[in-house]
Every structure is written in C-alpha cells, then in structure tokens.
C-alpha cells in the first residue's frame, strides 16, 4: 500500500518532528498514567489501612460507650461525675464493683495483694440483641464481640492514713482483651486477614477455647511469639497467631474466644460490640439508622465514617494526588495536545509546496487530509505507547521506593473507665502502609487512546489547513 509506505517514510525520515510530537504526547500520557496509578495506589493503601479496622466483611460497628464525664484531668477521674443512670448501669454490669478498689480491704497493712479486675468502658447488651439485629431488613449477618480491659494490681497494703500514689506504690498491668465469635471470622474485631504470623482461631468455640491471638505490637513489646503461652486474667492460653494492629476502633492486646472471655469475666451471654454486615452498600445507611433506634445510646460507625476519620500522611498524599496530581495531568495532557497540534500545523506549513504538488498530481483533498491526519494519529500512537512505557517505568520506580504512609483514625470516643490509674486506653491506632502505584491494562488502553486522540486533534487541525490549501498558491510558495 503506497499510502502506508508514504506514512512510514514521513515518520522515519523526519525523525525530529516525529520524536518531538511523540515525546510531547508521551510525557502528557505518561503523567496521566503515573497520576492515575498513584491515585489507585493510594486508594489501595487506604482500603488496606481500613480493612483491619472494620474487618473484611463488616459494614457497621455498634457499641454503646458510656457518656463522658464533662471534665477529665490528671489523677483518678471522678466517677461520681458520671450521670446517675450510667453509674447504676455500670454497677449492674460489674457486680463485683467496678469502681471499688480499696487495698485496705485486701489484707492487713504490709501484706502483699494481687487484685484482678475486668472493666468495660462500654455498656453491654445480651447476645440475643445481635440475633435480632441480624434479622433486620438490609442486614446480612451480625456477630457479637466483647471488648474488655483487665487490670492486674499488685502491691502492699498501706498503713491506714498513708497517702498512696497508685502509680508508684502499686504494680499495675493493664491488658485490653477482646472476645471473638470464632464461627464468624469475617465479622470479628480480628479477621484471618489480619493474622500476620501463625494461624487464626480454630473455627469452633470448643477447639478455640484455649487459643489466643496477640497484637503484633504488644507481642513485640513483651517478647511473645507464636507457640508461647500467655496469661490472661489468671488463665493460660496458647498463642496461635499474631495480628496486625487495627487502625481504629478499639484496639486490643489479646483476642480470645468469645464464650471463654464471657465466662472469665462473668459476662455470660453478654456482648458490648456488634459487627454487622449489610446486604448491599445502599442499605448501610438505613440499617445504621434502624440499629440506632433499636439500641438506645448505641454508637453506630460505618466503614465510610471511619474512612472520613482517617488522617495522616496517607490522607495528605491522597488529597495532593486528587487535587494537584489531577490538575498536573490535565495541564500536561493539554500542553501535549497543544504541542502536537502546533507541530502538525507547522509541518503542514512547511510542506505547503509538497502538499500542493500532491494536489497538482491529482490527489483529491480527502486523500491529502487523510495522509496528514494519519501521520499525526500514528505519531499519537507512538507517543501513547512511549507514554505508557514511561508511566509504567515511573510507577515501577514509585513501587520500588516503598514509600511508607501512615494512616491514623481519630477516636470517636476517648477516656473511659480504663483511664483509672492513668493507664489510658490503647492509643488511637495508626498503621503504616507501603505505597504502590498499580498500573492496570484498562488505564494503559485509556492512555494510548488519549494520545491517539491528541494525534487525531492535531491531525484534524493540520488536515484542515491542508484542505484549505489551493494548489496554485501552494505551488507559488517558496521553501
């Protein structure tokens, strides 16, 4: 085909112009690829950061935190400042006396004591509530969990009348423990996906009875490894796995089987966290409202609420990529289109005589325009392929850099009963995710198509000018 050979000859034997046009489009398209890949990478990083927080299949997390006392300050909080109703509920919930810690009752002065308490900062509800919620419209499934704090206080009974600073006088160990419904691992505060070492719980409560999963950070601090035994509330458990720290929600040091923890803490049949899966994304919001109505005082958190609360460099990078990155890509692409168009126009200008000659030879207008446009489109294609390669390379570089971004979730609730003795809660969790820049085939196809579009636009501009050339004037023009 002569036209194709002509096309090839034009591109091959005018390498400067071909390279310049293709390069212009390549840079524009390459930027689009990188920015899109980066934004996809940030999305992935975000969902990776959010996943352990909500569990793979969890859409809604329900708990009933206590109302906050108005003021919090240093020293033991004034529990009396809690509303009377809350105090009553808590007393009912913790019959052994949650607030009651009086060393003098534990022995004679000078005697050593060990006191073990399990505390909850959230009001519990019967497990039957979970079953009821799971039957609501829009709910696919629900699972219960129990999140507690165990406090182990050791020390010596002080002489009456001595002022005791609990921080220095007693040895206090605090542990956050969560009971997990092992039959619904995807709707659990710790999911199999979070287990980074070892294994997840056995899938029946009986077999999982003595198993524990330990938060990897806590395990590192305390030198615990898979296969070790650990002590929780005076009982020994086999460490079967270590789990990555969740970003938000209630972080826990140790995860146990739910029934076992309920019995250990005298909370049989009770739960204080409920994880619910909606049957579709659309039903998440109505479902959360319904749960709120059914369970007065409940705090209902959806995955998107959590996403909105995620902060840290991950979010900064995401904002940057969505604002600056997109703008940059658009500007680069626009500039590339403009460069390609100007080059196509200047090429037609320079080839006025040549194109006029073709017309004199009997080439119809359509044929000349087609030839000019095809050249440009082919340059666009070359630019697109080069740009895709450029984008893949840049994305690979970003991947190889293994940039770490951190994500943290601002806690909706803070303080709580665990603040007793200044132990505080597990800090608002933060996680680090490695930034990747995944490039998918669809994106590359779009990128090449964009470059071809640029070539087509440039070709159309050049072709239009070529079409307007009158052969007589074209031949008159001197090179």
């Amino acid at each position: 085909m002569f036209y194709i050979r002509f096309l090839g000859a034009e591109l091959r034997r005018r390498p400067g112009r071909t390279a310049l046009t293709a390069l212009g489009l390549a840079v524009g398209v390459g930027l689009v690829v990188v920015v899109s890949a980066l934004s996809a990478g940030l999305d992935e990083a975000q969902s990776e950061a959010l996943e352990p927080l909500t569990g793979v299949g969890t859409d809604v997390r329900v708990s009933r935190p206590l109302s906050q006392p108005k003021e919090t300050g240093a020293g033991p909080p004034d529990f009396g400042s809690l509303p009377e109703k809350e105090q009553r509920l808590l007393r009912k919930e913790n019959p052994e006396g949650l607030f009651h810690f009086e060393p003098s009752e534990l022995g004679e002065p000078g005697e050593r004591f060990t006191e073990l308490q399990t505390l909850s900062s959230e009001l519990s509800f019967p497990e039957s509530t979970v079953a009821r919620i799971s039957r609501l419209d829009g709910a696919q499934d629900a699972a219960a969990a129990l999140s507690l704090q165990t406090l182990r206080i050791e020390g010596e009974v002080a002489a009456p009348g001595t002022v005791v600073n609990p921080h220095t006088s007693y040895d206090i160990t605090s542990l956050n423990v969560t009971g997990v419904n092992v039959e619904k691992p995807s709707l659990a505060p710790v999911t199999p996906g979070q287990v980074t070492k070892g294994e997840y719980f056995a899938r029946t409560p009986e077999k999982a009875r003595d198993e524990a999963i330990i938060d990897i950070g806590y395990a590192r601090q305390n030198g615990i490894a898979v296969g070790d035994r650990t002590n929780v509330a005076g009982k020994r458990f086999d460490v079967v796995g270590l789990s990555a720290a969740p970003v938000g929600g209630t972080a826990s040091n140790v995860y146990l089987e739910l029934d076992r923890l309920q019995r250990l803490s005298d909370r049989e049949g009770r739960a204080n966290v409920m994880l619910v899966r909606a049957d579709s994304t659309a039903s998440v919001d109505p479902l959360s409202r319904e749960i709120g109505d059914q369970l007065p005082g409940a705090v209902v958190t959806t995955a998107s609420d959590l996403a909105n609360r995620v902060g840290g460099s991950l979010v900064d990078a995401k904002n940057l990529s969505s604002k600056l990155g997109t703008a940059l890509a658009i500007v680069a692409l626009g500039a590339a289109f403009l460069i390609a168009t100007l080059l196509a126009l200047s090429s037609v200008q320079k080839r006025t005589r040549e194109l006029g000659t073709l017309k004199a030879l009997g080439w119809r207008k359509r044929l000349v325009v087609r030839q000019v446009t095809a050249e440009s489109v082919l340059q666009g294609l070359l630019g697109g392929i080069a740009g895709a390669a450029l984008g893949i390379a840049a994305a690979a570089v970003i991947g190889a850099l293994e940039l770490e971004l951190d994500a943290s979730v601002a806690q909706a609730q803070s303080g709580g009963i665990g603040a007793a003795f200044g132990q505080g809660r597990v800090a608002a969790a933060s996680t680090e995710v490695v930034l990747g820049a995944p490039v998918d085939i669809g994106l590359l196809v779009v990128a090449v198509a964009l470059a071809v579009l640029g070539g087509l636009l440039a070709g159309a501009a050049g072709g239009l000018r070529a079409a307007r050339l009158r052969p007589a004037e074209a031949l008159r023009s001197l090179e």
Binding site: F6, T357, W363, K365, P471
Partner: protein, 251 residues
Amino acid sequence: MSKGDETARAEVAESAAPSYELGAVTCIYGEGRTLVTALASLDLTIGSGEFVAVLGPSGSGKTTLLQLLGALDRPATGTVRFEGRPLEHLGEAELAALRLSALGFVFQQFNLIPTLTAAENVEAALAPLRMNGVDRRQLAGDHLKAVGLEPRARHLLTQLSGGEQQRVAIARALARAPRVVLADEPTGNLDTKSGEMVIDLLGSLHRELEITLVLVTHDQWVAERADRVLRLDDGRLTGDSVADRAGMTAR
C-alpha cells in the same frame, strides 16, 4: 464493433479538438492597493500535440497562465476550455480527476517529496489510481527507465543531482500517460548541461508520445526548441510565433 475501437475513435475525436482554448481570460491577485493583474484579457488556442514555449520576464504572468492550464487556478473572468470542456463548470474533485487523468507537471524546484525514493515519487502520481502495488511499482520502474534513472530508483532525493531530480519529476509527470505536460521553468534550477539534457528529454518524449507540451521559460535557447513561442509581458500576449527550425518567423 468492439469496445476498444469505440474508445480509439473517441480518443481521435478528443485529440482532434485543440488542447486549450482561452477566451478573454483575466487573472487578478491581491486586493486594494496591492491588486495585481497577472493576465489581462488573454485569448489563446493551443493545439493538440503542440510544443509551446512561453517566454517573458518575471511577473509577466507566465506561471499564472500555466496554473490556469493546469486546472490549478481559475480565472477572475473569461473561460478556459480543455479539449472542448469549459473548466469553470467543474468542481474541485472533477478538476483533481482531470489533473490525474490528463495532465502532468514539471516544476522549477522539482517539487519532489523529500522523504520518498525516486521510484516512490513516481508512485505518488499513480497512488490515486486504482491499481495493484506490483503493477504500480512496475510502471514507476518503466518510467524511471525511460528517463535513464532505473539504477537510481531506490535512492533518496538527497542522493540525486539536480538534473537527476528533474528527470524523476519528468518520469512522475509522464507516469499516468497524460495528454498535456506543463513545465514551469524546468531548467531554472539546473546548470546548462543538465538543463539541456532535461529539455532534450522533454522534447523527445513530446515527439514520441505525441503529447501537448507547454513550457514556461525565460531562456531563449529553451524557447528555440519549441514549435511555437508565446511572449508575455505584463499579463498581455505580446508575441506568438511559430518556429520553422531554420529560425523564428512571425505569424
């Protein structure tokens, strides 16, 4: 009667008509103060198979005349008939078809396409015709052979001398077996020796192929090779003489 005979008769009838008849042709360029009258009320007939040289100084309207004859431009007023057909009634596509089937051009600057080889330049003239690639390359090769450039077929223009480039242009002009070849100062960019070779080539092709050849020049020696010499001055025909090979005789 066979179809071939019919075509042959039609061609005879066509060639019987003069190649060109120009009636009161005026060409004006520019506007306002820069208005230039390139041709002023020109009447001219060019017979089929004639070798006509158009002589005149720069700006005399020679090139304008050639472009009218080449159906590349239209007059402001007046008529141009090609083989009896008035060109003003033809649309752009029809003019392109006419150029493709009947006209060949040779330019002062050769106007070859620099990115193509010699053979491909000849093929460029054949491209719009519906023919297969093998035939097209064959035909292009034959025409390069006719101008003595067969060994140079695969060379790029930068590897050819000016005279060789102009011979490629002639091969291109003749590739489609035109009835008229229009040459705009074909020796203007050549040294005397190459120029002579080009004029000899054009002259012999004109005789062999019985084509009408219109050649614009300002070289007297080139004009002397023609059957008929037209003199243009300021867009007006100031001379029209027929050569009798022994010298110039006024008509």
